[in-house]
C-alpha cells in the first residue's frame, strides 16, 4: 500500500498528489512513469512522475479527473492509500545541451513536461516554454515552469488567459525568428496538440520529442496494448518509449487506438458518477 502524503487541487479537475513510494523515488528520472491501481477492482493506469524526493521517499503525480479511475483517484485524500504503484517505468528522457529549445505543454501535459524542462534547464539549455490550456483554469504549473524557463508563453483556446490561440501560435513565432536559435522541441499534451506541433516543426526540420500516452495494462512490455507505429515499425510505448521522435510517429493511428474503449469508459464513468451522487445523498441525509 502506498500512502498519500499530501493532496493539493490545482484546478477543479486537476489534483497534485505526493505519494510515499521510496523505491520508486530513489530510482526515478525525468520522463519515467508509474502504473497505478487504486482499488482491488480497479484498472492499471500509467501516470508520469512529475517530481520525486529520494530523501523523503516520495513521488509527485498530477492527475486530471477525466474518467472513472482518475475521478476515483481524485476523491482520495492525504492519509488514504493507493493499492499498487509500480515503477519507475519507461526510458528516462535523454537530457542534452542543445543550446536553445522550446518546451511545449498542453493541459495536464504540462505536468509531464515540467520535470523534463527542469532537467533540460539544469543541463544548460536556454528554455522557451509554451504552456496552453482550453481555458485559464487548465493552465497549470505556470509558476514552476517560469522558474526553469528563460521565457514563458501562455495560450488559452478561449482567450481567458495569456494569448488567445493554441500553443503552435507562439511556437511558429519562435521557429520563424532565427535569433531564438531553437535547436529542439519537447512537446507533451493531448495527441492532436502533439501532432500539430510535430507537423509544424517538420516544416522547419527541428528535432522534436513527444511522450505518447497509449493505453497500457501491465506497463512492462507484456501485453502489447500500447503498441504504436514509429517510422513504420511497431514499438511498445511502455518499454521502447514513452518518448519518441515526433516526426516518425503515426499520430492518427494512435488517436484512433486510444478510442478503443470509449463506450466502456463512458459506461464506467456514468456508473461511478451515480455512485458518488448516491453516497453524497446518503451522507447528506
Amino acid at each position: 500500500m502506498f500512502q498519500i502524503i499530501s493532496k493539493e487541487d490545482l484546478a477543479s479537475t486537476i489534483s497534485k498528489f505526493v505519494i510515499h513510494a521510496p523505491l520508486v523515488a530513489r530510482k526515478r528520472k525525468a520522463g519515467n512513469f508509474v502504473i497505478v491501481r487504486v482499488i482491488e477492482s480497479g484498472e492499471r493506469i500509467p501516470l508520469t512522475i512529475v517530481d520525486s524526493n529520494p530523501v523523503e521517499g516520495t513521488i509527485t503525480l498530477i492527475v486530471q479527473a477525466i474518467g472513472k479511475t482518475t475521478k476515483l483517484l481524485c476523491t482520495k485524500k492525504a492519509g488514504d492509500h493507493l493499492l499498487d504503484v509500480l515503477g519507475p517505468l519507461g526510458n528516462p528522457t535523454p537530457i542534452e545541451n542543445h543550446g536553445a529549445i522550446a518546451c511545449v505543454g498542453g493541459g495536464v501535459g504540462t505536468a509531464e513536461l515540467y520535470p523534463i524542462t527542469k532537467a533540460l534547464k539544469d543541463a544548460g539549455n536556454v528554455i522557451y516554454s509554451i504552456i496552453g490550456g482550453r481555458t485559464k483554469e487548465l493552465v497549470i504549473l505556470e509558476h514552476q515552469m517560469r522558474e526553469c524557463s528563460d521565457e514563458v508563453f501562455v495560450t488559452t483556446d478561449d482567450g481567458s488567459y495569456g494569448q488567445k490561440g493554441i500553443v503552435t501560435d507562439p511556437l511558429r513565432l519562435l521557429l520563424t525568428q532565427p535569433h531564438f536559435g531553437i535547436k529542439a522541441v519537447y512537446a507533451i499534451g493531448p495527441l492532436p496538440m502533439m501532432k500539430a506541433v510535430s507537423n509544424l516543426t517538420k516544416e522547419f526540420g527541428i528535432k522534436t520529442l513527444v511522450s505518447l500516452n497509449a493505453i497500457m495494462v501491465d506497463g512492462t512490455g507484456m501485453c502489447g496494448g500500447c503498441r504504436v507505429t514509429i517510422g513504420g515499425k511497431m514499438k511498445f510505448a511502455c518499454v521502447d518509449g514513452p518518448e519518441f521522435d515526433a516526426h516518425q510517429v503515426d499520430f492518427d493511428e494512435l488517436i484512433l487506438r486510444n478510442r478503443s474503449y470509449v463506450d466502456f469508459e463512458r459506461l464506467a464513468d456514468e456508473r461511478f458518477t451515480k455512485e458518488l451522487a448516491s453516497t453524497a445523498q446518503k451522507v447528506a441525509s
Binding site: E43, K68, G221, M222, C223, G225, M234
Partner: protein, 493 residues
C-alpha cells in the same frame, strides 16, 4: 512395504481407466468455472488400484521433477492422502497446479507400463485428487526447516520457476525474497492460464503454502527498474539470484492491420481477463472488446486458452486459425478436445495475410490463405507452404494473435555480464548457472517457451545449484577469514 493391492496384475489390467467428472460443454461455455471437477474418492481409489507398482517405476523418470509416483499411489491405497500429497511435495511443491496443467500424457503417463497394452494409469488425475483433498480438508502442515542459513537469495518472477526455486531454497533454510512486477503472484499461472483450467483459489492456496515456508513475496517490484540485480548484490545484501521472468513479450505476425482496434496479443487478451477480471466489467474497471466473430491465430495452449476464453465472453463463432495440420499443433490433446466440445472451429492449414478494418479503425475481417505441408523444417515439422490464389475472407471483429512470446528484455539489459542467446534467451549451463557467478536462470527465460513443469524443474535444479554455490562460497569465505588456521592445516599435512 506390505502389499496393499490384493489384485493380481492381470486383474488390475481389466479395470478401465477412470475419467474425470466434467462440466457439460453447453454449460461451461457460459461460465468461467473449472471444466474438470477431477475424480471423486471412489474413482481415485479405483484408478490407484490399476497401478502395477512396477519395480523399476519408469513413470518417475518420465516426470521432469522426479515425483515418486509409485510411493504416492501406494499411500493413496492406504487412504493416507496427506501422506500421498506430502510424498509428491517432496519433489513438487505445487501439486494442485501440476495435477491440472501438466501434460502428463507426454511425461509420466506415456511411459506407464500399463499403457503398453491398455490405457496408462491416470497419474495426473490422482495427483490432483490428493492435492485437492489436502486443500479441502486443510491438512497441510509446512515442512519443518531444520537449519537456518544467513544468506539471502533473490528470486525474480513469481511464476512456476520462481515459486519452485523459492520453496526449495526456503526448505534448505535460506532467506528468500520473491520479486514480482505485477500486483498479484503467479506469473503466467495468474495472467496466462484461465480460471476454467486453473482456479484463482487453487493458485492462491498454493502460493500461501510457499509463504508458509517463510518466503517473502514483494509485488509491484520490477527488477531492472525498481532495483537492479547489481544493486541486489552490492546494496541489498543478496548472495545469489534466480531469474525466472518467463517469456512475456508477445510476438506479432507483422501482417497489415495489426494496429486495428479489436486486435489483441493473446497475452493482452488473457491478462485483461485473468489478471484484471475484464469479464466482470463494469464491476471491475478493466474493459475488453468482444465481437460475435472471433479469430485466434496459433496452435499452442495459449491459443486454446484465448479461443475458449472468447467463447465464454460471448463469441458466437470462435475460430482457431493454424497454418499446419492438427498433427503439428503444439497444444495438449485434452485442450483441443475440450475446445472442440465447446464448439470452437479449427481452421487448419490456413494462414492470415491481413486484417481488414472499417472507417473507425475497428477490425471487420481477416484475409487468409490456404496452406499445404511441404518438406520438414529445422523443427522437424513439415513446413507449411501457401497455395497461390487461395485467399479468402472471414468476417471477424476480434483477432487474437497467439504466435509465441519472447523473454522480456528488461533484466538482460539492466544486468551486467549476462550472456544471452537467440531471441534474448538467457544462456545457462545444465545447472541453470548463467554466465555470471551467483546468478541462475530457468523456465521460459532460459528456454524461450516451454511448460509449467519444465519451468519448475529448472527452478528445482537451480535451487540445488544455488545451495552448492553458497555452500562453497561460505567455506571459501571461512578459509579467507582464517588464513592462519588454513596455513597451519597445510603445514600439519
Amino acid at each position: 512395504m506390505t502389499v496393499l493391492n490384493p489384485l493380481k496384475p492381470s486383474e488390475r489390467m481389466k479395470i478401465p481407466r477412470q475419467h474425470s467428472i466434467e462440466q457439460e460443454a453447453a454449460d461451461r461455455v457460459r461460465n468461467f468455472s473449472e471444466v474438470s471437477f477431477g475424480v471423486d474418492e471412489e474413482r481415485a481409489l479405483t484408478e490407484a488400484t490399476r497401478c502395477l507398482e512396477c519395480k523399476n517405476a519408469i513413470c518417475i523418470e518420465g516426470c521432469p521433477v522426479g515425483v515418486d509416483i509409485r510411493s504416492f499411489i501406494q499411500l493413496m491405497l492406504q487412504k493416507d492422502y496427506a501422506g500421498a500429497v506430502n510424498k509428491i511435495r517432496e519433489a513438487n511443491y505445487l501439486p494442485a497446479i501440476c495435477g491440472r496443467v501438466c501434460p502428463q500424457e507426454e511425461q509420466c503417463e506415456i511411459v506407464c507400463t500399463l499403457g503398453k497394452k491398455h490405457k496408462p494409469v491416470a497419474i495426473g488425475k490422482l495427483e490432483r485428487f490428493v492435492a485437492d483433498y489436502e486443500l479441502e480438508h486443510n491438512l497441510f502442515v509446512p515442512p519443518v526447516i531444520t537449519e537456518h542459513r544467513e544468506e539471502k537469495v533473490a528470486i525474480v518472477g513469481s511464476g512456476p520457476a520462481g515459486l519452485t526455486c523459492a520453496a526449495e531454497l526456503a526448505k534448505l533454510g535460506y532467506r528468500v525474497t520473491i520479486f514480482e512486477a505485477l500486483h498479484a503472484v503467479g506469473g503466467v499461472l495468474r495472467y496466462g492460464i484461465p480460471e476454467f483450467r486453473l482456479p484463482r483459489k487453487i493458485l492462491d492456496l498454493e502460493t500461501d503454502r510457499i509463504r508458509a515456508l517463510g518466503v517473502d513475496i514483494q509485488t509491484n517490484f520490477l527488477v531492472g527498474r525498481t532495483a537492479t540485480i547489481d544493486e541486489f548484490f552490492d546494496e541489498w545484501g543478496f548472495s545469489a539470484a534466480f531469474l525466472g521472468t518467463g517469456a512475456g513479450t508477445p510476438n506479432f505476425m507483422g501482417i497489415p492491420g495489426e494496429s486495428l482496434t479489436g486486435v489483441y496479443s493473446a497475452n493482452e487478451f488473457l491478462t485483461r481477463v485473468n489478471l484484471m477480471m475484464a469479464n466482470k466489467f463494469p464491476d471491475f474497471d478493466t474493459p475488453i472488446r468482444m465481437g460475435s466473430h472471433v479469430a485466434v491465430i496459433g496452435g499452442g495452449n495459449t491459443a486454446m486458452d484465448a479461443v475458449r476464453t472468447s467463447k465464454r465472453l460471448g463469441a458466437e463463432r470462435a475460430l482457431l486459425i493454424y497454418r499446419r495440420s492438427r498433427a503439428e499443433m503444439p497444444a495438449r490433446q485434452e485442450e483441443i478436445h475440450h475446445a472442440e466440445e465447446e464448439g470452437i472451429e479449427l481452421l487448419l492449414l490456413t494462414n492470415p495475410t491481413r486484417i481488414l478494418g472499417d472507417d473507425k479503425h475497428s477490425a471487420v475481417g481477416i484475409e487468409c490463405q490456404r496452406m499445404e505441408l511441404g518438406e520438414p523444417d529445422e523443427s522437424g515439422r513439415r513446413k507449411p507452404v501457401p497455395i497461390k490464389g487461395s485467399e479468402f475472407l472471414i468476417p471477424v471483429q476480434i483477432v487474437i494473435e497467439a504466435v509465441g512470446q519472447q523473454p522480456n528484455p528488461i533484466i538482460q539489459a539492466t544486468t551486467s555480464g549476462l550472456k544471452t542467446g537467440k531471441r534474448g534467451v538467457v544462456v545457462t549451463d545444465e545447472k541453470q548457472q548463467t554466465s555470471r557467478p551467483g546468478i541462475f536462470a530457468g523456465g521460459d527465460l532460459a528456454r524461450g517457451g516451454a511448460t509449467v513443469i519444465l519451468a519448475m524443474r529448472d527452478g528445482k535444479v537451480a535451487a540445488a545449484a544455488i545451495h552448492d554455490y553458497l555452500t562453497s562460497r561460505r567455506s571459501n569465505l571461512q578459509d579467507t577469514a582464517q588464513p592462519e588456521k588454513k596455513a597451519e592445516e597445510i603445514a600439519a599435512k
